[in-house]
């Protein structure tokens, strides 16, 4: 039964097979271009290298994408995460810049708490618009996507606020036990979200709401609370990502911070196998998706592909990944490739969705 032959399709058919293949290919291409790409060094007890950099730079995207996964699982979408990144970064930097001693740990912690609180409020705002007032998620979060940028501008008064705070910088570029601090934070939040959704019944309930909202309501699910909750989680994740992004450059730019991160996050979620229609979500997939996107972005810079073609290049890779993941496309490929001998692959997925 479990010969290699019969197992092979199970491997290639796995959700994450193609994203992982593309990820490996990207890394290979980078290595060919610059052989030192794979090397990781230990300097002063800290790990350095391109791979470590990619991980570190992925951290904020991973966070945003985690929150986005939950929102998308309920059948919603959160376009405002980029603005939340900007606002939380701006609030934190503003508060720190007003401190007499920017290096005081207490001041930084207060700044983080304050900014995190603001992010939570923004999440409650989104959640209220969607769950209580009943505005379509794409519109509801579009409001904050636009208004949030304005809010960030207001906080920074149109300036770029620079801070000179070592504790704050640590969030972006510091190290802990040899690893970049940002990676550890991303890991911790990932674990937290995984435990929150999979050790409790939250994950299943989210999937029920996303899979069939009316059936869930009639089964007694308090769909409103759940919906509100996922938007708050999403904003919280974006808030933390905001710290990382601004700490990376020690400055908050209301205009540029987190710009377009919502699109990268949505892509990461979709590449990870979660459907935009809602329902089942896969946190592991989301992380692979985020790593893929970040590797792509980094490669584009590293290979000094000129900025005009860079975006195009990125788009092409994303389209390819999405295509080879689509069941309909794969069924077509398989049919085309069908040899005279009858196929030994197990039954192909249903082609069209006509339930029962």
């Amino acid at each position: 039964m479990s010969t290699l032959r019969s197992r092979l399709p199970a491997v290639t058919g796995h959700r994450l097979f193609w994203p992982l293949v593309v990820l490996v290919l990207l890394i290979a291409a980078n290595t060919v271009y610059r052989p030192s790409f794979l090397s990781v060094e230990l300097k002063n007890g800290h790990l350095y290298g391109s791979l470590v950099d990619i991980l570190r730079l992925s951290a904020p995207l991973i966070l945003v994408a985690l929150g986005m996964s939950l929102v998308i699982a309920t059948g919603g979408i959160d376009l405002s995460v980029g603005s939340v990144v900007a606002v939380s970064g701006a609030v934190a930097c503003l508060y720190i810049s007003k401190q007499p001693d920017q290096n005081s740990l207490g001041g930084v912690v207060t700044a983080l708490a304050l900014a995190f609180g603001v992010a939570l409020l923004l999440g409650v705002w989104n959640g209220t618009l969607v769950a209580v007032i009943g505005i379509q998620p794409i519109i509801a979060t579009l409001i904050l996507m636009v208004a949030g940028r304005g809010l960030a501008q207001l906080v920074t008064q149109g300036q770029i606020i620079t801070v000179n705070s070592d504790p704050y910088r640590t969030i972006g570029v510091g190290h802990l036990v040899g690893l970049p601090f940002a990676i550890i934070v991303a890991l911790a939040v990932t674990l937290l979200v995984a435990v929150l959704t999979r050790r409790t019944a939250l994950g299943m309930i989210i999937e029920a709401v996303g899979g069939n909202a009316e059936a869930s309501r009639l089964a007694g699910v308090r769909a409103r609370r759940i919906t509100l909750l996922v938007y708050v989680v999403s904003a919280a994740c974006a808030g933390i990502a905001g710290f990382m992004m601004t700490a990376n450059v020690s400055s908050a730019d209301g205009n540029a911070a987190g710009l377009w991160v919502e699109l990268d996050a949505i892509l990461a979620v979709v590449i990870g196998g979660t459907s935009l229609a809602g329902g089942r979500f896969y946190l592991g997939g989301t992380i692979v998706g985020a790593l893929l996107i970040q590797t792509l972005t980094t490669s584009v810079y590293a290979m000094s592909i000129d900025p005009q073609t860079a975006l195009l290049f990125k788009a092409v890779v994303v389209i390819v990944v999405c295509l080879i993941q689509a069941p309909a496309f794969r069924a077509r490929l398989r049919r085309r490739a069908a040899t005279p001998t009858p196929p030994t692959t197990p039954a192909e997925q249903q082609k069209e969705q006509v339930p029962a």
């Binding site: 939250l202 299943m204 999937e207 069939n212 009316e214 869930s216 759940i226 249903q350 082609k351 006509v354």
Partner: protein, 513 residues
């Protein structure tokens, strides 16, 4: 008859889903001008055979010929274009479009290249009038009951003027009148030479109309017979694959005595409960251990009554009393809090979450009541799910399959299990045996009697009057969204008296006092 050539032949069809051999070398043929009943238990492979035929699924082996030419459809659209028109088991029209649009989608009447909306409305209205359905065709389809949606799907399929018409359990939520209409239309089409493939679990409909019967069991062909040569008992034995005595029908007067339960403590009392535009104020008391049946025609407001008890819709007048305490039930959460459960007739849109597994669907209501912070322990899940998979013989008996991969009848059982594990005190069942095979149907009916014996109150809705009469202690009769009368189910109550009450709006003539 043997001179003619079949219009459709399926030979040695096999279809394997991961872990399930849904069809195994099945042959099937369909002659022009015949109604051919495809029979089998839940999960036997009937719907799969149909979907393989129309190209919803690819086959793993076997061939299909239409008019002597080999075909392999890539999807329902192509099948329709080739003259094979299908009504699938689950109504799969578009609830967000109007009735008229649903009927003409893909073949809209056009004038000068643009859709002629007026002609579309007119023709849709005419078409529905032919099957005695008088509704506003500009309304969204989703605003109508499942039975109406089913009729619309049938009207659409019939209007396509196909050579082969496939009806997969088209009558599962229809009342006697609509069934009669449908059978009339089917006879007419048959006489015009159209070949009809008909799937149903109602034996009387089979014997009323089918010329020929093919029986499947566990994905295998059992055989094909002219209807006249296969008596009802023999048919059932072929379907279940064993002698019939294991399936004795339930005792007509099993369970509690109607007088006795009505004298017992009331569990839920509705006084003047109603909702504008949905159902007129009514009063109804359901006692512990009592089964109250709701009878009435299509659109008479049976489901609406059920929804008010459960808070699926909010009542805007009247008072509900549960256990002697006046309460308002504003939403399902409040109802479940008071141990009321509601098993919707529309399992696809209001019942199951197709993507989730059998296990998850079964524990959903229980989990929702506990709140997400207190997950039902895995061991308890296994225990409950296993128990009900066995009790209701849900097949395949694998709790980790996505529920949408189950056959229609088995999905219905999963929905039932979801509510049974919550051990409700009032169980509202809206068409609980819809699409369920005869064996399992008796099982479920017996279960209802047993639960009532154990003190559970049941509000039972079914388009099958016979079933309502068999189970209920009392029958509340609905007509035009009003509850017109309530009849105690003593020895004198029969289908005729209930039909009379429906027809006369509750003013029984010549009935015993």
């Amino acid at each position: 008859m043997s001179q003619r050539h079949p219009v459709l032949t399926m030979t040695a069809i096999s279809k394997i889903f991961p872990g399930v051999r849904a069809l195994d070398g099945v042959d099937f043929r369909l002659f022009p001008g015949e109604v051919h009943a495809l029979m089998g238990e839940n999960g036997a492979g009937k719907s799969t055979l149909i979907k393989v035929l129309t190209g919803v699924y690819g086959t793993d082996a076997g061939t299909v010929t239409l008019d002597g030419a080999r075909v392999s459809f890539t999807g329902p659209m192509q099948a329709t274009a080739a003259g094979v028109s299908t009504v699938y088991q689950e109504v799969n029209l578009l609830p967000n479009l109007s009735v008229a649009e649903n009927i003409f989608i893909g073949r809209e009447p056009r004038r000068l290249g643009v859709v002629d909306w007026r002609a579309m409305r007119r023709r849709a209205t005419e078409l529905l009038a032919r099957i005695d359905l008088h509704i506003d065709v500009t309304e969204l389809l989703g605003s109508y009951s499942l039975a109406v949606q089913q009729m619309v799907a049938i009207a659409r399929a019939v209007d396509v003027r196909a050579r082969v018409l496939i009806l997969d359990e088209p009558t599962s939520s229809l009342d006697a009148d609509e069934v009669a209409q449908l059978l009339r239309i089917m006879r007419q089409l048959r006489d015009d030479g159209i070949a009809i493939l008909f799937v149903t679990h109602f034996l009387d409909q089979v014997y009323g109309i089918a010329d020929r019967i093919t029986v499947l069991r566990n994905g295998r062909l059992v055989g094909e017979w002219p209807t006249a040569e296969l008596p009802q008992l023999a048919l059932v034995e072929k379907m279940i694959g064993k002698e019939l005595d294991a399936l004795e029908s339930i005792d007509a007067d099993a369970g509690n005595d109607p007088e006795a339960v009505a004298a017992g403590p009331p569990l839920v009392t509705a006084e003047g409960l109603g909702r504008t535009g949905s159902v007129a104020p009514f009063s109804l008391t359901i006692h512990q251990g009592e089964v109250v049946g709701l009878a009435g025609l299509l659109g008479s407001g049976r489901t609406e009554v059920a929804r008010l008890f459960f808070g699926a819709d909010r009542a805007d007048q009247g008072q509900l009393t549960v256990d002697g305490t006046p309460t308002t039930i504003r939403n399902p959460v409040a109802a479940i809090d008071r141990n009321i459960a509601f098993c919707s007739e529309n399992r696809r849109t209001e019942g199951l979450v197709g993507e989730l597994t059998v296990r998850e669907n079964i524990i959903l209501a229980m989990q929702a009541a506990r709140g997400w912070l207190r997950p039902v322990p895995r061991r308890r899940q296994d225990e409950l799910v296993q128990r009900w998979i066995e009790a209701l013989s849900i097949r395949p008996a694998n709790p980790d399959l996505p529920v949408r991969n189950l056959s229609g009848g088995n999905q219905q059982k999963v929905l039932l299990a979801r509510w049974l594990i919550t051990e409700p005190r009032l169980l509202i069942l809206d068409e609980p045996t819809r699409g369920i095979d005869i064996g399992a149907k008796t099982e479920i009916q017996r279960l209802v009697v047993k639960l009532a014996d154990g003190g559970m109150a049941v509000l039972f809705i079914s388009a099958e009057l016979e079933e309502v009469l068999r189970l209920s202690h009392r029958v509340a009769v609905m007509r035009d969204r009003q509850m017109v009368t309530q009849l105690t189910n003593d020895d004198t109550l029969d289908a005729d008296r209930v039909m009379n009450a429906i027809a006369s709006g509750g003013h029984e003539e010549g009935a015993p006092a």
